[in-house]
């Protein structure tokens, strides 16, 4: 809540010419990416297209090889470590696996950022925690441990923890992956209502088409470490780009199989399993 008084900039995220490596392998290759205030931006792309990587770098978990990343107007690789710590308090993240602290109850998990970063008294913390749990429909589940929750409940509890500090910017990694369609759709509704009621800007990484089309203001499609297209839902649906059409129609990349080549691949001798 430190820089709450500062006005949120028009562009909450600006990524310019980002190049990153994993070992010697290049993952992001000249990525450009911008998110505007109040927008729900969905990042899509096949496996290995770099969508999660982009998220990790924006969150500052790793240092890029080249390029600039500005979050809420601050260049995260230029500001001091302590300024970055403060900046992080304006950012909420909901992990794919939830990443709830397994040694704490759901309530303690949600209260954790409040206890760490605010001087609020225990009563206020309890009330805020309860409020956020009600937002995600987990009002009565505060005493349960994460291991006692179902997949959908974990995602919702993680969401409650991500929004407990009223962040300006919220990140979602695969909010509906592994959930049944009804629960997935509930999570989508939650995302929409959070944006409408709290004015958060959001970045959602997903590969669920239905969910992406429902929540996105704009969609960014990544391919091989580059920003292939950023456009509205309608424009993406109409796109004639082959890679995007493949992605939308779930077409496999190797549609032609050469029997001889396949046989050679299977019997390759230097293919060891460990």
């Amino acid at each position: 809540m430190t820089s709450q008084n500062h006005k949120t900039p028009d562009k909450v995220i600006e990524v310019t010419d980002l190049v990153t490596h994993y070992g010697t392998r290049k993952i992001l290759d000249g990525m450009n990416f911008e998110v505007e205030r109040g927008e729900i931006r969905v990042i899509m792309g096949g496996s290995g297209s770099g969508k999660s990587t982009l998220l990790w770098y924006i969150l500052g978990l790793y240092k890029p090889t080249e390029g600039r990343i500005k979050v809420l107007g601050e260049d995260i690789n230029q500001i001091s470590f302590n300024e970055h710590l403060k900046l992080k308090q304006n950012i909420g993240v909901s992990f794919q696996s939830g990443a709830l602290f397994s040694s704490m109850s759901v309530g303690e998990n949600v209260a954790f950022p409040l206890r760490e970063f605010t001087d609020l008294d225990e009563n206020t913390i309890r009330i805020i925690t309860r409020m956020k749990l009600e937002v995600v429909n987990l009002g009565g589940f505060h005493k349960l441990m994460p291991s006692q929750l179902s997949g959908g409940m974990i995602k919702r509890a993680a969401l409650a923890r991500a929004i407990v500090m009223d962040p300006k910017l919220l990140f979602f990694d695969e909010p509906s992956a592994g959930l049944d369609p009804v629960v997935a759709s509930e999570i989508d509704d939650l995302i929409l209502s959070l944006r409408d009621n709290m004015g958060m800007s959001m970045v959602v990484v997903t590969h669920e088409l239905e969910s992406a089309f429902k929540i996105a203001d704009r969609i960014t499609v990544l391919d091989q470490g580059k920003n292939l297209l950023t456009a509205s839902v309608e424009e993406v649906k109409k796109s004639k780009n082959k890679r995007i059409m493949d992605l939308l129609q779930r077409r496999s990349r190797h549609d032609k199989l050469d029997p001889e080549e396949y046989l050679r691949r299977l019997t390759q001798e230097n293919y060891t399993l460990s």
Partner: protein, 265 residues
């Protein structure tokens, strides 16, 4: 030829890896104290309640087993020393030998090994599973410095509780020695205990206490480092736990030898 090259390559890789982890552990130590001092300023407060919790789980809970083994070690020393000293007709020296060797050597070493097995393994498993389940990433993106939250509290807890464990172990081990020796020496247990404390000098006790603090630091740093380096999910956590115990006990024994050399004049 290729096999040999590969072996050399592996050796090189392992050396680099070991050095990297050593550097990482040093960094953890430095960072822990940085956040202990600077934490308040940057809203990275150390929670006193967390330290107390660790003192209980790492210190108080280890007390029964430490005391039991200290008693046994004291008795074992008495048996061996009386047997050896009898050859010179110097059984009465057993009191001095036990008091000195227990306070300077045996109680820190035994306690170090037990705590490495309990707390070192626990720290490695805890941090390891948190690494695997992205809990460390979650702390990072929230703006909570993981070192301050996960390493500093157990580090302080062991720095506080190791010396206390050692003092308790000293007393009990000497008592264990007394149990066996009194019949041979024909003296009362209370007289034996008083005499033992009389032959001890500050340096004897201090040597044990200094060693115990060093061992405590080794246990936490090795446990945390192996935990942070976990890959490969649940299997990796299991491996890290084993590694943490083996490596920290090895370091403890080496550190013990070095400390004995420099602290014994």
């Amino acid at each position: 030829m290729t096999k040999l090259t590969q072996k050399v390559e592996n050796l090189g890789q392992m050396t680099v890896q070991a050095l990297e982890r050593l550097g990482f552990a040093m960094r953890l130590f430095w960072d822990s104290f940085y956040w202990l001092i600077a934490g308040r300023k940057y809203k990275q407060r150390l929670r006193f309640s967390q330290v107390v919790k660790y003192i209980k789980s790492e210190g108080v809970d280890a007390l029964p087993i430490v005391l039991m083994l200290a008693l046994v070690v004291g008795m074992m020393l008495a048996i061996q020393l009386i047997y050896a000293l009898e050859a010179f007709g110097a059984e009465s020296q057993v009191l001095l030998a036990i008091a000195k060797s227990v306070t300077r050597e045996f109680s820190p070493l035994i306690t170090g090994i037990i705590v490495a097995g309990r707390s070192g393994a626990a720290i490695a498993a805890r941090i390891g599973s948190q690494t695997v389940s992205q809990e460390i990433d979650a702390l990072n993106v929230m703006g909570v410095v993981p070192v301050r939250y996960l390493v500093l509290p157990p580090l302080l807890a062991l720095i506080i509780s190791m010396p206390l464990l050692i003092i308790a172990a000293d007393i009990v081990a000497i008592f264990g020695g007394a149990l066996f020796s009194v019949t041979k020496l024909d003296m009362s247990i209370s007289a034996y205990m008083v005499d033992s404390f009389n032959v001890l000098v500050v340096g004897d006790i201090m040597q044990g206490l200094i060693k115990s603090v060093v061992f405590g630091i080794i246990i936490v740093l090795v446990g945390a480092t192996t935990g942070f380096y976990v890959t490969n999910g649940a299997e990796g956590v299991g491996k890290a736990t084993t590694t943490a115990v083996v490596v920290s006990i090895s370091f403890i024994v080496f550190a013990d030898m070095i400390a004995s050399f420099f602290l014994t004049k």
